[in-house]
Amino acid sequence: MTDTRPIHSVVLVKQVPDTHNITGEVMTKDGTMNRGALPAIFNPEDLNALEMALEIKGRHGGTVTVITMGPPKAANILRESLFRGADKVVLLTDRKFAGADTLATSVVLQLAVQKLGQFDLVLCGRQAIDGDTAQVGPQTAEKLGIPQITYAESVIDIADGKITAQRALDSGSEIVRCTLPCLLTVVGSANTPRPASVRRQMERKLSAAPGEYAALRAKWPEFETDEAVDAFLAKHDLKIPVWTAEEIGATEGTIGLAGSPTQVHKINFVVLESTESKTISPTPEAIAAMVAELVHEYIVG
């Protein structure tokens, strides 16, 4: 029998530079990278995590809360989440969070999830395309003291306080059952994320975080002060809450650059090594000579 209890999910998402579409404009002549030229997008597998949470809500009821740690403009992916069906979003932004590695990030996410209160599931994408580490999910689970199901591809069942899910592994797959609450990292093959709903988009397009009020006022001159914007958004439940380090109770030294045990020693741009090379004409004779050379060098034969 399937549980009738509603399931409360928290989805951890990240705004990332679109590293899949690195073009000539991004890599400059001297080999440095123009990060500004990269569009910022919703990390693809985080969309799969959001979709999984929304599907679970569709089946069991409950709520979907989406949180992100990032700069003020990361509010964009929170609005995206609202358009797709999230009930509530929170932006974790603070200069003190900057420069965090995966460990320091997981400290912030842990505190934020705990501040939200009771939850059954935490979902995140398997990995973010700007770092490809796949570490933040498990590290957050460990800090929350809950079990993890990585590479979740489908949720088979949620019943009696347990979730049954399939994990996609390189070498095959696994079906596991785990007590709630737990954390899932979701793979790209799990589902096809739903598009933004037009209705929700209409309703929530004004959603904004305090850092965005100036931009909003530029578009809506009838709001003369930030306070006026704030009052309006609060009244219509369109305010994206922002939590700072202080509000989640993060201690300095555990977050941001200072809380990051890993340090970047150096960055090299990938340069093609020039090798000693021979140009071979596409003729039977030249090819036969090349094959002879390879045989002679014991590379083949």
Partner: protein, 346 residues
């Protein structure tokens, strides 16, 4: 008593067989251990896996920490992590290496989080070196350089953990050479008793399906790889013919896989298999950075491409500007003629 510092390797295994990457890392740990004067320790969790411990020693370990318990029969995050965390807290390894497999990358962050130490994902190289911090006016000696591609493979980053121990890294499969087993090597197998807590059994594995892969890219001496420039299934069949003639395997770029030309198990590159064969033939492959990341260590590279400016040509030893459909048959014909000549001569 000054104890010798340790380098740990997580020994992953399925169905009684140690993952190649764990032995590759044992070999690398041996190298680093010799350089630093550290002991190389394999951490082996499982059930009835005594025999595997010997194998780890034969590949370069001085010591194996063996946690043998029915609860450890199949990999599960929490019971495995419990053993690693408890032992690491007591023994304080300097370095801890884990294979960059799905389960390795499930295990490592859990352990690193509990130990509050730095972890670098999916390294492709490890070295030892110093790290100077200007702000502190201090040089950290003999750190582990954890070298990995970043930003979709467009950058190579060297990461260090100056202040926390162990220095943890997951390492991509196939980038380190697996050492030959030496049956004469001696080492210590030390049993450790896992101290589980009830919460460690929150997850049960109900079933496991192992896809038996018949593709043996990693160990193939020759790989004939096709990309989007291979126009048709018939042309792809030429790759197979050539691979068979050379005793090799067929590889592919992601574009060829995405086009449905060949199964994903054949993909070479950052998100596929990393290979270093004696000979790599790249047919109709442009040489995107993510593809090269998986094959640029090949001893000899032949590139066949109609575009003389294809990046693959920059790392190729033999550059053939031409059409795959014409060039491959020429290579095949030339090899067939040679083997016939040979037969005539005998």
């Amino acid at each position: 008593m000054t104890e010798q510092k340790q380098i740990w390797v997580f020994i992953e295994h399925t169905d009684g067989k140690i993952a190649d990457v764990s032995l590759e890392l044992t070999g690398k740990a041996r190298e680093l251990g010799d350089q630093l004067g550290h002991e190389v320790v394999g951490l082996l969790c499982g059930y009835n896996v005594d025999a595997l411990a010997e194998e780890v020693i034969e590949h370069g370990a001085d010591r194996v920490l063996l946690a043998d318990d029915p609860e450890l029969a199949l990999y599960r995050t929490l019971p495995y992590a419990r053993v690693a965390i408890a032992e690491a807290r007591v023994r304080k390894p300097e370095i801890f290496l884990i294979g960059g497999t799905p389960n390795g990358r499930d295990f490592a962050p859990r352990v690193a989080s509990a130990l509050r130490c730095g972890l670098t994902a999916d390294c492709t190289d490890l070295q030892i070196g110093d790290y100077y911090v200007k702000k502190e006016g201090k040089t950290y000696k003999d750190l582990l350089y954890q070298i990995r591609p970043a930003f979709g493979g467009n950058l190579i980053a060297t990461i260090v953990n100056p202040n926390t121990r162990p220095q943890m890294a997951t390492v991509r499969e196939g980038v380190m050479r697996k050492p030959a087993a030496d049956a004469a090597r001696k080492g210590v197998v030390e049993k450790v008793e896992p101290a589980f807590e009830p919460g460690d059994f929150a997850l049960e594995v109900l079933s496991r399906q192992v896809r038996k892969s018949t593709v043996k890219l990693k160990d193939a001496p020759v790989i004939v790889s096709g990309g989007a420039g291979v126009g048709s299934a018939e042309e792809f069949a030429l790759l197979r013919d050539l691979a068979n003639l050379l005793g090799g395997e067929v590889g592919a770029s992601r574009a060829a896989v995405d086009a449905g030309m060949i199964d994903r198990a054949h993909q070479v590159g950052q998100t596929g298999t990393t290979v270093r064969p004696r000979l790599y033939i790249a047919a109709g492959i442009s040489g995107a950075i993510q593809h090269r990341a998986g094959m640029d260590q090949s001893s000899k590279i032949i590139a066949i491409n109609t575009d003389p400016n294809a990046p693959m040509f920059q790392i190729a030893h033999y550059r053939i500007v031409g059409d795959v459909g014409e060039v491959l048959p020429m290579i095949i014909k030339s090899l067939r003629e040679r083997s016939m000549d040979q037969r005539d001569a005998e």
